[in-house]
């Protein structure tokens, strides 16, 4: 059933590309219908899969001569991420309700991207996973280059090239693993069971991990992320931060860590306390957490603040993966979900609700606009989203980051100390943005009040309210009752760890 999420997304994209142009409202409703169906299938798969382990959905020989199978399967991790994709898709369509330029094409690219993302999360054949992973690159480029803002062509090309370089690294690793294993199958299970030599894993693991890590925003390969997020139209930033970065993190986990477990073994020597690839990537993750937060603190553009906060939050995911223990990896998967929802919400507020009305994202200019009075909905939505982003208890971010830190403590306490600094700075930049954009002190003069009355902001529309309510309530629900997701994630992580990682 979950497989249909892929098919209806691509079918929707094809249909939107073919139907005659001009009927923008029709295109929107069609896209929304497809996205809601995808979400419904995701929810159904999520509920139906509760308590089940890995379930094969489809298994057909695809390229018999190379042993490639069209193999879709889902475990708890996949189901959680499919659910996330469904949410991001619906919210993305809702927040693109005002797209008037080439509407059909916009939603066609949007749904093609969504279809590729669903495909990656459901593939259990390395080859198929790679195919879906690359399918997602091209729509991203066009979404940003055509409908984007600030330096969109530069940002779109940068994003496309970073993604393609990352996927080239993955492809090299894939070819090498395929050739080395000598197996006649490219299914993840067969490759995992092929017992690749340790020396091979030692160099292939970092190659593949960095290849996927580029898309996960791993420092120092993160620079595509802020520029890409800022230039992208709202729905695309929501998808980029919400699910595309998760593709990278998911690849790191499912392919990097699972196929090459011995790549994480100690080297046998250590330089300044770093004795394995695991230490290297954990240090990069910690740097990403602190660096992203510090840079976010210094931004003058509202959207850049959110863009760098994504780098910081994705650092938690990578740190969680590098703990290699049950708690830490569970936390990492939780954080993927949580950040997907929260970053989507933040980008929606900044890029759609605020920017479309004020036409500026400069904090200094927003400061003079008294937005808490004029856009109370946006202000309160951002308060909620900001609290979730800071990791206050009661929101999903808290549960996720807390578990990552516990997992990290068990390995190296100083990682936790450094990441803790990142959290504190995280509070500071969220607070700063919140205050500058919405709650500045300056009192409006009579002249300003008149001007504001003469040019009132457009009213908040129903898609915006629905989108905010959807994402905020999901974050709250997961924060208050994390068992919903944990019951799915924990057994899957346990099975994954039992499959060979130390």
């Amino acid at each position: 059933m979950l497989a249909w999420t892929i098919y209806i997304s691509f079918a929707g994209a094809l249909l939107l590309a073919l139907i005659p142009k001009g009927n923008n409202a029709g295109a929107r409703w069609l896209a929304l219908t497809v996205a809601v169906f995808g979400l419904a299938l995701g929810v159904a798969g999520f509920v139906g899969g509760m308590g089940h382990g890995l379930e094969t959905i489809v298994d057909l020989p695809w390229v018999p001569l190379m042993g490639v199978h069209y193999l879709l399967a889902a475990d708890g991790i996949s189901r959680v991420l499919v659910l996330l994709t469904g949410l991001a898709a619906v919210a993305g369509v809702l927040f693109s309700w005002n797209i008037e330029l080439r509407t059909n094409e916009f939603f066609a690219f949007f749904l093609a991207l969504i279809g590729g993302v669903y495909g990656v999360f459901l593939s259990y054949d390395l080859f198929l996973l790679f195919v879906f992973y690359e399918i997602a690159i091209v729509p991203k480029y066009f979404l940003i280059a055509i409908w984007g803002s600030t330096r969109r062509e530069y940002a779109a090309m940068k994003l496309a090239l970073y993604s393609f370089v990352g996927s080239a690294m993955v492809l090299i690793g894939l070819l090498a693993a395929y050739a080395t294993s000598g197996s006649h199958s490219t299914s993840l299970i067969a490759l995992h069971a092929a017992n690749l030599p340790v020396s091979f894993q030692m160099w292939c693991f970092p190659l593949v991990f960095v290849g996927f890590g580029i898309l996960a925003g791993m420092w120092p390969f993160h620079t595509w992320a802020p520029t890409g997020h800022v230039a992208a139209p709202t729905a695309a930033s929501m998808l980029l931060a919400g699910v595309v970065m998760k593709l990278g993190a998911y690849g790191c986990l499912r392919v990097g860590i699972w196929l090459f477990p011995h790549g994480l073994d100690p080297w046998g020597f250590s330089i300044i306390g770093i004795g394995s690839w695991r230490d290297v990537f954990a240090v990069l993750a910690v740097i990403g957490i602190v660096y992203g937060a510090l840079v976010a603190l210094a931004q003058t553009d509202f959207k850049f603040v959110i863009g760098y906060s994504s780098v910081s939050h994705m650092g938690f995911v990578l740190l969680g993966l590098m703990t290699l223990n049950q708690v830490g990896i569970t936390g990492a998967v939780m954080q993927m979900f949580s950040h997907g929802v929260i970053a989507g919400l933040l980008f929606a507020i900044v890029g759609r609700i605020v920017y479309e009305r004020t036409h500026t994202r400069q904090l200094a200019e927003l400061e003079t606009m008294h937005l808490s009075r004029r856009l109370p909905f946006a202000a309160w939505a951002f308060v909620i989203a900001g609290m979730a982003s800071m990791g206050l208890p009661g929101f999903s971010g808290f549960v996720a980051e807390f578990q990552v830190l516990i997992g990290a403590w068990a390995v190296k306490p100083w990682w936790v100390v450094a990441a803790g600094v990142g959290i504190v700075v995280g509070v500071a930049y969220t607070w700063r943005a919140l205050q500058k954009a919405f709650f500045s002190d300056g009192k409006a003069s009579v002249h300003e009040l008149e001007k504001e009355r003469a040019h009132p902001f457009a009213a908040i529309t129903w898609p915006e309210v629905t989108g905010v309510a959807l994402l905020a309530s999901v974050s709250l629900a997961v924060g208050l009752y994390p068992r919903i997701l944990l019951d799915q994630i924990e057994p899957a992580v346990k099975a994954l760890l039992a499959g060979g990682v130390q």
């Binding site: 001569l65 399918i135 090299i172």
Partner: protein, 522 residues
């Protein structure tokens, strides 16, 4: 030797020649007064019918497909005396050559660069005959005759646009380079004959292993000369200089023909040579799967010509990938961009030839690549030609706003260019993957691995220049929004090619299975 056999083996070639003559007779004899459009349509259709007939007679002459017709025209003594081969990769390549020729002719229907319609179609068909000969040739003399037949046709086709100075310039450059490379090739052949006393590929390889000539430095001289001559045909660096000018100046159907049919034929020749080299050493490795270069275990045996040949090809491959991809970044003319991308693609294929195995796997991977590449590039030239005639230029900026001027054409361009860049699920991706996997399966040493890594990394570079064109078609604002009209036949052909690229990409096993069906089950 039996002339009836010879006739039977060369039946497809004969059919093509007859079709060429028929086109000439009809066009010059009966249609002198007819409108140009009618003449073009009739000539092109006759040509297409000729190609179809050639495929049909091939079906009746060299099938059953499951058995290679070893040594059809041979002097008693077995495989080692074959002059023309049939079955296996030869049949695949010949069918591909005929189909691609037919597609080129269909694109010709809409063009108006010449009044000498019959001559153009006839020359095209004759050049295709040369291609068919090369695909099956196992003898130096036949190889040379086939190559010259093909090349002379190409020079003429390049020069066919008499009103265009660029066309003449391109043709003269192509001709001079071509003549020189042919003389290199012939010189190399003469050394091989002198050293081994035979013109048969298998005999030469065998001769290179015998005591009195093995290890002679003259072999290296000969191989370098031959590599230069053949490298010219496939536009491999450093013998690529003609390609950008020719691709830019030649009329579109001629350029498409050079980029597709001529490539298929020349790479099939490379496959023949690789197979001949490994065929002889097969007996020392009865598994039929030869690692040309082994890094572990006992020091590599002297394997005749295979090692120096591999080195020459690997060097050309690396240089072509680098130069092609990097030079393409700087192009503003889309045709020149395609020329440099063709150089890069030739580099990938040469990599597959450098690490070649006697098992059909390598040959299949290379055929898969060159077939799909040829198909894609014909389509790309079709689109460029339409745009060029509508805007008067093939510069990147003439693609501005193409998605508004003709959405279908823009979509075709999108599919074809993304396939060339190797984006899944389009067929170009499978071709690349298949080829690189074949290389690594032959030898997993550090050198081939490094070369494959280089190739993959450079295909990431190539995405940049393909996107530069697509960006103009889809993203940047249009300067001129008048719709571009396309001849219905051209549109059908282009959409058909794009659909084939997508479908073959989604079901890659279909083409693979078709190619494999020509090989005996091993």
């Amino acid at each position: 030797m039996n002339y009836a056999d010879l006739f039977r083996v060369t039946l497809p070639e004969t059919v093509l020649e007859v079709a060429a003559l028929l086109v000439l007779v009809v066009d010059l004899g009966f249609l002198r007064k007819a409108a140009l459009k009618t003449r073009v349509a009739v000539a092109a259709l006759l040509g297409v019918v000729g190609c179809g007939a050639a495929i049909l007679v091939m079906g009746s002459s060299s099938f059953p497909m499951m058995k290679p017709l070893d040594g059809v025209m041979n002097i008693p003594g077995g495989f080692e005396w074959t002059v023309l081969d049939g079955g296996g990769y030869t049949s695949v390549a010949q069918i591909a050559i005929l189909m691609l020729t037919a597609l080129t002719l269909l694109l010709f229907i809409d063009s108006a660069f010449t009044k000498h319609v019959g001559e153009f179609v006839a020359v095209t068909l004759m050049a295709a005959t040369g291609g068919l000969l090369i695909a099956g040739a196992q003898d130096l003399l036949v190889i040379f005759v086939g190559l010259e037949l093909l090349s002379l046709g190409l020079y003429i086709m390049t020069a066919f646009s008499k009103a265009s100075g660029k066309s003449a310039e391109a043709a003269i450059k192509y001709y001079l380079f071509g003549g020189m490379s042919a003389s290199f090739l012939l010189f190399g052949f003469s050394y091989l004959y002198g050293l081994t006393g035979s013109t048969n590929l298998h005999q030469i390889v065998l001769g290179s292993l015998t005591a009195n000539s093995s290890g002679s430095p003259l072999f290296y001289v000969a191989l370098v000369l031959i590599a230069a001559g053949l490298g010219f045909k496939v536009a491999a660096v450093p013998f690529h200089l003609w390609a950008p000018d020719t691709y830019e100046g030649a009329p579109a159907p001629a350029a498409a023909f050079i980029a597709s049919v001529s490539k298929v034929a020349s790479f099939t020749l490379f496959i023949s040579i690789g197979t001949a080299i490994l065929h002889v050493v097969r007996d020392t490795y009865p598994t039929g799967f030869v690692t040309v270069f082994s890094t572990n275990g006992p020091p590599p045996k002297y394997l005749g010509l295979s090692f120096p040949w591999m080195v020459a090809l690997a060097l050309m491959a690396a240089a072509s990938m680098l130069v092609g991809n990097l030079a393409a970044l700087a192009q503003v003319s889309v045709r020149r961009l395609l020329a440099y991308s063709a150089i890069a693609h030739a580099g990938y294929m040469l990599l597959g030839l450098a690490y070649f195995s006697y098992s059909p796997r390598s040959a299949e991977a290379i055929l898969y690549y060159v077939l799909t590449y040829g198909l894609t590039t014909i389509g790309a030239f079709g689109v460029i030609d339409v745009v060029q005639r509508a805007t008067g230029s093939d510069r990147m900026d003439s693609f501005l706003g193409l998605h508004k001027r003709n959405p279908a054409l823009a979509a075709v361009l999108l599919v074809l260019f993304l396939s060339l860049a190797g984006i899944p699920p389009l067929v170009g991706f499978w071709a690349k993957f298949n080829l690189f996997a074949a290389v690594l399966r032959v030898s997993a040493g550090p050198v081939p691995f490094a070369l494959v890594a280089l190739a993959v990394a450079l295909s990431a570079v190539s995405l940049y220049y393909y996107i530069q064109v697509l960006k103009r078609a889809y993203v940047m604002p249009a300067v001129d929004e008048t719709p571009i009209k396309v001849h219905p036949v051209t549109m059908i052909v282009l959409v058909g090619i794009a659909a084939a690229v997508v479908l073959l990409g989604i079901f890659p096993a279909v083409l693979q299975g078709w190619i494999a069906s020509f090989y005996p089950v091993m």
